[in-house]
Amino acid sequence: MGGFVGLLSGIFGVGGGFLMTPLLIMIGIPPTVAAASDSNQIVGASTSGTLAHYRLGNVEFKMGILLLIGGVAGGTVGVQFIKILRHMGNADFLIQITYVIMLGFVGIYMFVESLQGLRVSKSTEVVAVPKKESKYAMILKKLPWQTNFEKSGTELSIVLPLVLGVFVGILAAIMGVGGGFIMVPVMVYLLRMPMHVVVGTSLFQILFTCINVTIMQANTNHTVDFVLALILLIGSTLGAQMGAKISRRLKGEQLKIILASLVLIVMVKMLMGLLLKPEILLAFVGGH
């Protein structure tokens, strides 16, 4: 299990919590322990993955740190927001609906866009036509504090990753996930980073998010099962290394289309969970 999730993490730059936590619950681990121990093992997998991607020149540290700062601020706002929502009732409903809509939108957009990209790259007679600059690109250029991001080959205002980091942080806090699934499309489409650099940078950022979650869970809920995390780690760190190598061999569009398919599978699973009557109408507090 650890190896498989680590592989996904290394290929796509996602933490893998969306897969590992339900798998652990399925084999009988209590949901709270599964979620906390999973975040502990993601620390190992993302360290391994970040190192592998760093060697391949795929980690944009400057961008990762800016997104991280924004993410921490956004996460703090998100936690307060979710408290208000819970107080008002129906918080779970909003969380699940946000999840399904976000994943559906991102998954379909990525899938269609990368499919078109694959078709274009297959055609041999591509006529180079100078592209008209989009309104979004023009707005980006007008933003203050433009900085060069070498690995991505782009020049952007530092305001943008900070603002987007806040946005992803809020969503991640509301949804109760690490945010890799939202961060990857944000980096690809809004920060216009190349897919390979996105994977490495996302892993670098996930590393810090999961360090924070592990320490918080260990301190407040005592739910980190170190032995379980260690067993998963052995597989996931190896998997992350192999994933990074596989990722390098795949084209950006191929990576995007596989990730889009994964996102859509998770979305459909969540939607089914909302529409079909659950086997048991009770659940322990603390699960995802």
């Binding site: 360290t47 032995v227 780690l233 009770l282």
Partner: protein, 248 residues
């Protein structure tokens, strides 16, 4: 320590059974993956055996799922189920199991099965059917292996002096929490308790798991920091081992 009730009236009125339990202490080390306990004894030849293993009473907070807007299933609130055992496993003989399945009133009055748990439980809820909710709770605990009826585990052999010998192997779940458990052995004849005895079994974490549990609860932050450090080191070591391709 509080355990489930259900036998106080008959304890004095019924014969005490001779029962051997081996082992009566389970040591849960790093490789613990469930344990087997052997229960042996003698009961009157015309009676049937029911073994019941129960944990101490606990309170649970659970999310209750329901339908919102007519189509969507989601968490609709929190339910508190108080004073229910942390473990409730029944090991009935075939005849006892048939009686349990039949659900006769005389059986329910004995208070040996899940109905006794429901009777004692306090379910904090205003408007809903408490027994339906309790059924869902039992389903949830059965999924974890902590509640259940395990059939075909009681075996008989002929004995002497109007008695018969029984033996049973109790398979305890891998997710068994640390604690003291109560093992009740009932001899049942004509829907009444003809003999009874009770033993205690202790499940105790030892070695590395015991150290880790104690460390995690007494020094949470330090435990978290160390867990993170070990994960980072494991990631770095794997990275070094796999050092193959160079940076661009």
């Amino acid at each position: 320590m509080m355990f489930i009730c259900g036998q106080p009236e008959f304890v004095l009125a019924t014969a005490s059974l001779e029962v051997t339990v081996r082992p009566n202490q389970i040591l849960m080390g790093a490789l613990y993956n469930g344990a087997n306990i052997s229960v042996m004894g003698d009961v009157p030849a015309d009676s049937e055996v029911l073994i019941r293993l129960t944990g101490h009473l606990e309170d649970y907070k659970l999310k209750k799922k329901g339908r919102a807007m007519g189509v969507l299933w989601m968490n609709l609130g929190i339910v508190e189920i108080q004073k229910v055992p942390s473990l409730f496993l029944l090991y009935p003989s075939k005849a006892v199991n048939d009686s349990l399945q039949a659900g006769r009133q005389s059986w329910q009055d004995l208070g040996l099965g899940f109905e006794a748990v429901l009777k004692q439980a306090n379910i904090v809820l205003d408007s809903e059917d408490k027994s339906a909710l309790f059924e869902e709770f039992v389903k949830l605990e059965k999924k974890s292996g902590l509640y259940g009826t395990i059939k075909n585990t009681i075996h008989y052999k002929e004995g002497k002096g109007g008695m018969k010998s029984f033996s049973c192997t109790l398979a305890l779940p891998s997710g068994l929490p640390q604690g003291v458990y109560k093992l009740d052995v009932f001899a049942i004849k004509d829907d009444a308790i003809a003999g009874y005895t009770s033993k205690e079994i202790e499940a105790k974490k030892v070695g590395m798991p015991a150290f880790i549990t104690s460390f995690a609860f007494n020094h949470g932050t330090l435990y978290g920091v160390l867990a993170v450090l070990v994960a980072i080191i494991a990631g770095l070591v794997t990275g070094v081992i796999f050092k193959g391709e160079k940076a661009h």
